[in-house]
Symmetry: D2
Subunit: 343 residues, 4 copies
């Protein structure tokens, strides 16, 4: 399949990652994590997120989110998240089913939530009939392609801690957010008090690896059992760890994320120039655009030329997502096809 | 790390599998399974296990077992398995925690269970105070390196069906069993009425891929939701499917399994010749040997030379496991070291 | 404590129910349901709800709801209910935790939902990333003291069945609804196609007994195991069954519900007469009123005189609930006190 | 039904308990536990078990056990119990399903377990593949009618604490054990370091009420949410609390338990005198006898005269259980019938 704006998980594995995988395929290695590549991963996590950070590779993003919740909450506690949160909309109920916890969805502007929106869920605190919020989970960058500012995150962390909750970041695209804000991964997480992170890799050019990262001391206690019981312990773990090291121990994460973001900006610019009549629904701050097309007919004809997901069937909204491998030339082709169709 | 007899998951990825992975790294592919490699996997499963078979890749063996149970039982039902079964001893309670089901462990001879041993659990059938057995799960080849004969399996299938139960095979090492018996994978499963299979790949030379295979028509209904909710849906699924295709669509599975089995036999032969005083605890029918050493001191000195797992600390029993990459020369070296130590 | 408008579960046990309990305290009886009182309960359920109905006593309403869901859904399925539904707001996450299922909350007018509001949740049908709606749960009478008409219920049943879902009624106050509509319990449930019912008793004058009633043939299969595993099997079941028989086998349910409803109407009438400036938020169709008071100060001074629950702290909304034992004289006293305070 | 030796839960409600229930049926009371009877229960628990004790009424014994486990363990932890333990054999898998925890069953002599038998489960401590024992649960008096001595219990408590585990007592018949040993309930629990207790009432003459009692400070934190989520929060809680107070705040528990125990002793004595050839399988230390009859035919003929449960179909073992209401004359009648049959 040629290039698409379907999703960053349609993209192939980055050559440097593939090289790291092959390099790890050397003789025997202790299974289940006591291998040199995982040891290196452990060190890299501390280097990137600070000395208190402890990371654990898992297979996918749903699992990273579920394990984060399982580790920190009892089943009678709840997670406050946005109505657009991936944990609520796209994980087939895994968080509720695997942890017993309830998701409380706060209304969102551009995919982001605020302390004010969260505070509505505190009225039942201490009342045995109501689930007790214990975690705020935000997605950074958001499902709508926007990015929380450092200040917005600080306020959420403060609010969470003030009310005896932890702050979790679903960072399937954390690298895009950091690149967008021009800050380090540590500045965006540990430094401002974020407690737990689902760190995405697969959408950043890996073959398949994510991590749960505990950013503050003490939170990771006994997590090995949670990971194993949630079916996320890889036997040949070296191949997951090697991918993560390739991404994080150097600037590959930044190069990949910056490129994807730049391509989204390019797509936005060309769109505003060549198709100014098409509404772009949210600020383009990371690697996604949500664009309302004139009709479903036009949308589907464009989709046939180059596959992408439909975000809203009634309003003919398309989601276009760039990735580490997006070719600027493809942006031009795509815009040309679109222009043709809406003429 | 040089070669070991630690486990078949210490071994690297087979070159043909690595080649298949790289070949799949070509442009964009639809995520979550609608890619050509997964389509090919679906076909290969039918080719290998018969036209009714439906396969679903998952990340690891624990997950394959859990998803098999989740798909077929309600939480008030139970799984009958052997006291040595991996699902009961080595999966950190994942089957119980993820499905709510109870494991009922039948006594075992050489790692195998019989209809007679299972029948003890039927006395509470229909009684609301007792969990209701709904599945018999056997491991083939077993955790003790033995292999059920076709006839033994047939009897268990018959018994299961007679009592309205299904038969599940934990086939983390099914290929070793088939190679040992000299039969096809289909002859060992679908043809004799096995209902569900956890099909192992990682221990057979893959990087990391297993599959749940429903062998009889109708059993796979709605399984896609179970897999997703159990956090086993790979976004870049093509890389798991490509591994499985490399293993199954040709004779790689047979070559790898036969080699591992042959190396176990070689190790056994040399052991009987050079160290005849050491008890080998179970028949060597697949790729594992359980050997009682004269003392824990000797065991640990040998372990330092070449790592392996200790099976029984009190009796100084070692588990030695061969794999697709075991070098016959390593068998000689190992035996020489052992001989030296026990002299 | 003297009379209150706090809740119908503040009220004592009705004398006829207490008499039935004492009458059941006669010698030995087989535990766990094989007793004559439970046999009688089984027959009464068929008499009241029709020959296909099968009833099972449980301890409380949360359990009745949880067991209803557990019996009919897999964990990757979802329940559509209103934003005000007791299962979502007041059961401390029990439905999610005990069944794994997700609750999808539809916007509500006066506590009621419609097929239109439910249809928004069908867009992800068949998509493995999304939970799959399998049950619509409505509360009758609702948490806001309103009552679905027979026609509204028929439309919901039709919609549910059309989309391969079942319809569940949380009938903690079903008797109030039937009395309000002037129909039999069967006319309100089995006759119009309702599939499963959580039948309330405790709020109707029992000491503590509810029931799960399966109204259509085949739905109750193996439910005994669900009840037991969900910790709802009473050992001296005769005492729960005897309560239910006292309520249903005769007209006690109708007398109690009619009285409570009439007292709510009386309270409404007096309120409109004596305090016409106070907004009554929802139509008074069963046994509850939601009244906005001039200030929290006034609310709390009234509350001190006679306890009731605060529904909305910001808007100073009180919930007043009548019960089988509400004395008309108490209505007068209460209105007099209120009048005094708001003057 | 006339008297039986079927079970102590076949017996009716004790008149003093029934009187207490009726006395509690007085006007309105705050629902869900903020009533005077529950306040009294709270005080009585401290009086009976010591000032650190905190008690919570629940509906049945399975629930008391499940809630005890849920409160103290994570799902990757395990409970060590005897092979005869009620939590493993008679609760339809509720502990595993509701908590995710695994039960590890230690071999038992006369229904009792020892530190030695438990220690076999510690070998996997710290290993991520294995569930981690966190609780030892013993039944006192045991399912086989025997009683742990204070010394045996102390050793188990010491062993548990030494290995960072808690000790739970399933005390469905704790009163029988205390009466048998001639000690107070506190001496048998709090004083020797027991951590959590499932306190039985239903088998002691109540209509239906059990309690979870946390005996050491700090263990009850947030338990109200566990109880509610596990569907064990009674709305008209006063009626459960009043039963418990009737049992514990005075000597009713002791009178009832002593009588039941004495009747078991009487039955044993008469049996040894009149039918000396019949093996009594376990020491008669509480209120149960397990007696091997000459044949299933004789057993069933006796059962028809007076119902009891069959413990072992193959060996024709009957379980005979006395209760608070057993009439000595009934012992004579029963022995006479038996004598007649086995002559």
């Amino acid at each position: 399949m040629h290039s698409t704006f379907a999703s960053d998980n349609f993209a192939p594995v980055h050559p440097e990652v593939m090289a790291a995988i092959q390099k790890a395929n050397l003789g025997h290695a202790i299974a289940y994590g006591a291998d040199p590549w995982t040891e290196q991963f452990n060190q890299v996590i501390k280097k990137v997120f600070g000395p208190s950070a402890e990371g654990f590779v898992v297979f996918n993003g749903t699992a990273a989110n579920v394990c984060s919740i399982q580790q920190t909450l009892s089943s009678w506690q709840a997670v406050i998240c946005s109505t657009a949160a991936h944990i609520g909309t796209d994980e087939c109920g895994a968080p509720q089913a695997a942890t017993g916890c309830t998701l409380l969805t706060a209304p969102t502007v551009n995919g982001k939530i605020t302390p004010e929106a969260c505070s509505a869920f505190l009225h039942g605190n201490g009342n045995q009939h109501h689930v007790q919020p214990g975690l705020i989970s935000i997605t950074q960058s958001t499902e709508l392609g926007t990015v929380y500012t450092i200040d917005e995150m600080k306020k959420l962390v403060h609010f969470a801690h003030q009310h005896h909750m932890l702050l979790h970041v679903d960072g399937a695209r954390l690298c895009n957010a950091a690149a967008s804000l021009g800050v380090s991964l540590q500045a965006l997480t540990s430094d401002i008090g974020v407690d737990i992170l689902s760190l995405g890799g697969t959408k950043m050019g890996l073959m398949g690896a994510e991590a749960v990262v505990f950013l503050q001391a003490g939170l990771a206690k006994d997590f090995q059992f949670v990971r194993k019981q949630q079916m996320q312990l890889a036997s040949k773990m070296r191949f997951l760890s090697a991918q993560m090291v390739a991404l994080l121990d150097g600037d590959l994460w930044l190069r990949n994320a910056s490129h994807a973001n730049a391509m989204a900006k390019l797509l936005e610019t060309k769109l505003r120039t060549h198709c100014p009549q098409l509404p772009i629904l949210y600020p383009v701050e990371a690697n996604a655009l949500f664009v309302q097309l004139p009709s479903m007919d036009i949308l589907q004809r464009l989709q046939k030329k180059s596959f992408f997901w439909i975000w809203d069937y009634e309003k003919a909204v398309a989601r276009w997502m760039t990735s580490w491998d997006t070719d600027p030339a493809f942006v031009d082709t795509f815009i040309a096809e679109l222009k043709c169709l809406i003429r």
